[in-house]
């Protein structure tokens, strides 16, 4: 079970020896920044994931070469919504004698399905050790005037299916970013009775919160009962605050999280959904006509998730 979620500063702290590290090669320049920072860290095994459909992209090719030459790792091509290979890579990690098992994930450019698989593995593996997963995220710079995303699919993140049985009301918790149209689209599809929103503040840059507020004015002003502003830099704070936000509704309503903002906020939502039964977390995937080249700001967000082996009967929503 998820035991604790703690913020940490990877650049300042001494990092442990990792049994496995997962990176991702992508057309976003920031995908190599964290691996570069971590060159001296002691890691047993490095897996580098990459999407099939980006292989021809010139920046992606450069990233592939970087991982090959600097880390000796070939790119493992995995489909966006496929988590099967992740379980193969993680099998046997740490063996039965290590405690805790340390895993590092740079999720800056990863599919949510992939890093959710790491969390599912940590929750369900029969290995008796405690597990620590360090998530790192390279904070990116998002230009103004990006083309709107067209939704490709909406599905529940594996392990975050919740328990969508019809209660008397449903709660939609929307994490807001810069894709306001897509958010409204999902809102219209989900039709929740009560809407809450949250956006990043403080964020990567000082003007980002106001930009997000303006773009999402319709949902914030006309649909939402509560608009939280939570730090980009603290997944711990976001995780705890979101727990409190949905607390009055636990065991009484369908709760659906729709994180469409920055990835640390997505991670917080996934953790919340996995921690408590009955909470769904959706993945809204899409594509833009022109891919967004997210540059790096050379800052990162570090989150440590501790798992403890739980021998008690798993919790249902009714055991709370």
């Amino acid at each position: 079970m998820i035991y604790e979620v703690i913020d940490f500063e990877a650049e300042k702290e001494a990092l442990p020896h990792y049994h496995i590290a997962l990176f991702s090669s992508s057309p976003e320049p920031r995908c190599t920044w964290i691996p570069n920072v971590l060159k001296e860290v002691d890691i047993d095994r490095v897996i580098v994931l990459g999407f099939e459909n980006q292989r021809a992209d010139p920046i992606r090719r450069q990233s592939d070469i970087y991982f090959s030459t600097q880390w000796g790792a070939e790119i493992q091509v995995v489909a966006y919504n496929d988590d099967t290979p992740l379980y193969e890579y993680l099998k046997g990690t740490g063996g039965y004698n290590s405690s805790p098992i340390h895993i590092l994930v740079d999720y800056s450019c990863m599919s949510r399905i992939w890093y959710a698989a790491v969390l599912n593995w940590a929750r369900h593996t029969p290995v008796p050790s405690n597990i620590v997963v360090d998530f790192l995220y390279a904070v990116g710079e998002h230009k103004n005037n990006i083309s709107p995303v067209v939704i490709r699919d909406i599905l529940s993140i594996p392990g975050c299916e919740g328990n969508p049985i019809p209660f008397s009301k449903s709660i939609g918790v929307f994490g807001l970013g810069f894709d306001n149209f897509a958010t409204l689209c999902v809102l219209d599809r989900l039709e929740p009775d009560v809407v809450y929103t949250y956006l990043a503040n403080p964020a990567a840059f000082d003007d980002y919160p106001e930009r997000a507020r303006k773009l999402n004015e319709v949902i914030r002003e006309e649909y939402s009962s509560v608009n939280l502003e939570l730090p980009l830099w603290s997944v711990e704070r976001t995780y705890v605050s979101l727990t409190e936000l949905i607390s009055p509704h636990r065991s009484e309503a369908d709760i659906v999280l729709v994180p469409m903002g920055p990835k640390p906020h997505v991670l917080a939502a996934i953790l919340l959904s996995m921690r408590f039964p009955g909470i769904t977390c959706l993945d809204v995937s899409g594509s833009r006509p022109t891919p967004e080249r997210v540059g790096t700001t050379k800052r990162m967000v570090g989150t440590r998730v501790l798992f403890r082996k739980d021998n008690t009967k798993r919790g249902t929503r009714h055991l709370e």
Binding site: I154, I165, S168, D179, L184, E191, R220, E222, E229, H318
Partner: protein, 609 residues
């Protein structure tokens, strides 16, 4: 961390979605349309309606726990006679999302898992209705509790393979919810570890039965213990089935095709989303034999001349019912009082005489042919009204208003109760959202020391609200699943074509507000038209003789009136033009970028910054 609350207090108008209105609120605010009573029958129906058209309200109201509380004589008669017992299951985005996130399943595994989950969901829906039946048909508290205990015990034996004892419906509900949750967990665990743990049993094996067998067992038990009549029809209302994949539909179709006995289906979906009629057991479904369509966006059996009155009456009822359930300040409010009259849609005070303002506008904006015809008909009473003034009055005013709105002047013509209702397209969700925004404005405008509402809302404010709403509706299309960009581009082309004709060319009595498709319409465009109908941005013209039949490629479709304010169009049926014609003449549009919603009105854009 900062928190901001919504600017305005929530009120019942914000609860525009029936899916999650509390039961009592939905019952009190429900306005039944004629199609609702068709559904209360021992037939399979597929209910077609655009997003927000009220399908969920209909499906929920058919469920026993809602219908039994509905203060209508027909409904009460049906309940008393134990003729129908409705059950409600939403196959919502979230529910289906937990099916779609398993791409590693084979088709057979996906089918079995869908069946399993639908078995659990149908049993849960059944329990809600069962509780309602117990409360309705057994007045003695003790007998009711004992009957509940007996039924629960019998169901528990079936649904848990005798593993557990149940005494109450609540216990059964908790058990089923836990089974669903445990199943998902077990599947994840199996993937992580490659197999189940030693000695671990498969969760919920009782629901691995063929589709609806557990539900049927429940129906049999309830029929016996509640002494239901043999002809009692159990109606399973499956809502939002547009979210299901083709293989799911084939499974459902197979069940519909085979004998359903006393179990009937009311399936809601969006127009053109019920295309999969194949089954897994041979011939496909036969429309009108295996099921009937019921189209709810429009009632083509109502003569055109009466339709506006009927829609207005519906909207007014919707408003009044919601207002009566809302805080005090709304309770004496009517649409007319809130929004006033509409200059464009009402011809009050118009004097089509020689030298009148209306004739001046006609001469200014109309084509020569139209002017000549009008002058020839002037003074001929009904003939003039039918051929000229009725067709051109509002259009001329609109054109003139737009032409004169420059600098600091604000457009005011998209205002009035009739205009708001018209722009709602008869779509309950749209109507409620529009009403809510108008109410918020009336609250905001009210001086603090006087009454709590400023009525009527000023026309300029109404216009801004409708135009913003129109803009939001259009902009959101860009992100629609799969086809958003192309659909948005198509709607913009259509709207821009119509705007150009209305505001830049000499006016005639025929205004274009519809498109025509035919066998030559390319597949990709036809696909967009269908999607536009599904989300309520185009509406098909359906015939009175076949009011539930969607055009199959050959047909005419009018632009949704909700888009009229954005494109500065006059919201009326109008003439149609071939889709190909519009597309040939349209200029390529620049790529829309993400950003604040922009109104289609350059001067206003500068004002808003």
């Amino acid at each position: 961390m900062s928190i901001s609350r919504a600017k305005y207090r929530r009120n019942l108008f914000e609860l525009d979605n029936a899916k999650n209105l509390s039961r009592d609120q939905l019952i009190k605010t429900f306005v039944p349309i004629p199609q609702f009573w068709r559904l209360l029958s021992s037939k399979n129906h597929v209910i077609l309606g655009a997003r927000g058209s009220g399908k969920t309200a209909l499906a929920k109201m058919l469920s026993h726990d809602h219908l039994s509380q509905f203060p209508d004589s027909c409904a009460q008669e049906a309940i008393k006679a134990k003729s129908y017992i409705g059950m409600y299951i939403p196959t919502s985005v979230e529910w289906v999302g937990a099916l779609k996130n398993k791409p590693w399943q084979t088709e057979k595994q996906a089918e079995e898992f869908f069946q399993w989950r639908l078995n659990v969901a149908s049993c849960l829906a059944y329990l809600v209705s069962l509780r309602s039946c117990l409360n309705t048909y057994i007045s003695d508290k003790r007998v009711r509790a004992e009957t509940e205990a007996s039924i629960s015990e019998a169901l528990g034996e079936s649904w848990s393979d005798g593993a557990k004892n149940f005494e109450t419906i609540s216990q059964l509900q908790i058990y089923l919810e836990d089974v669903e949750y445990d199943k998902q967990n077990q599947l994840t665990r199996k993937r992580v570890n490659g197999k189940l743990a030693k000695g671990e049993k498969v969760v919920g094996s009782a629901f691995e039965n063929p589709l609806f067998v557990p539900l049927r067992r429940g129906i049999t038990i309830a029929t016996r213990m509640l002494e239901l009549p043999d002809d009692c029809a159990w109606l399973l209302c499956l809502d939002e089935t547009e979210n299901l994949a083709a293989l799911h539909h084939r499974i459902l179709n197979s069940y519909l095709r085979s004998q359903t006995q006393n179990l009937f289906f009311k399936i809601t979906t969006m127009p053109y989303f019920h295309e999969e009629l194949r089954t897994n057991i041979g011939p496909p479904l036969n429309v009108d034999h295996d099921f009937e369509y019921v189209y709810i966006d429009q009632d083509a059996t109502i003569p055109l001349g009466k339709r506006e009155r009927v829609v207005y009456s519906f909207a007014s009822d919707l408003f009044l019912k919601r207002a009566s359930e809302s805080p005090l300040e709304y309770q004496d409010l009517t649409l007319d009082r809130l929004l006033g009259g509409s200059k464009l849609l009402e011809r009050k005070g118009a004097k089509w005489e020689a030298g009148s303002h209306e004739m001046t506008l006609l001469r200014k904006y109309a084509s020569k042919k139209t002017i000549d015809r009008a002058e020839a008909q002037l003074g001929k009473g009904d003939a003039f009204t039918a051929t000229v003034s009725r067709k051109l009055h509002g259009v001329l005013l609109l054109r003139d208003a737009v032409a004169n709105t420059t600098g600091n002047r604000k457009l005011e013509v998209y205002s009035g109760a009739k205009m708001c209702v018209r722009c709602g397209d008869g779509n309950p969700r749209r109507l409620i959202r529009i009403f809510n925004r108008m109410l918020q404005e009336s609250l905001a405008e009210a001086p603090e020391q006087e009454s709590k509402l400023a009525v009527p809302v000023p026309p300029a404010a109404q216009t801004m609200i409708l135009r913003n709403f129109s803009s939001t509706t259009l902009s959101s299309v860009q992100s629609e699943e799969g086809i958003g960009r192309e659909l948005h581009a198509l709607l913009k082309q259509l709207g821009e074509y119509m705007r150009h004709r209305l505001h830049e060319l000499p006016l005639t009595t025929d205004q274009v507000f519809s498109i025509e498709t035919d066998e030559n319409t390319p597949d990709d465009k036809w696909k967009l038209v269908k999607s536009a109908v599904a989300i309520g941005t185009l509406f098909p013209n359906v015939s009175a003789s076949n009011p539930d039949q969607m055009p199959d490629r050959v047909g005419t479709f009018r632009l949704a009136w909700v888009l009229a304010p954005y494109f500065l169009l006059f919201p009326r049926r109008g003439r149609h033009v071939k889709l190909g014609t519009v597309l040939e003449r349209a200029e390529p549009l620049k790529e829309e970028v993400s950003g604040p919603l922009r109104l289609f009105f350059p001067e206003e854009e500068e004002e808003n910054g």
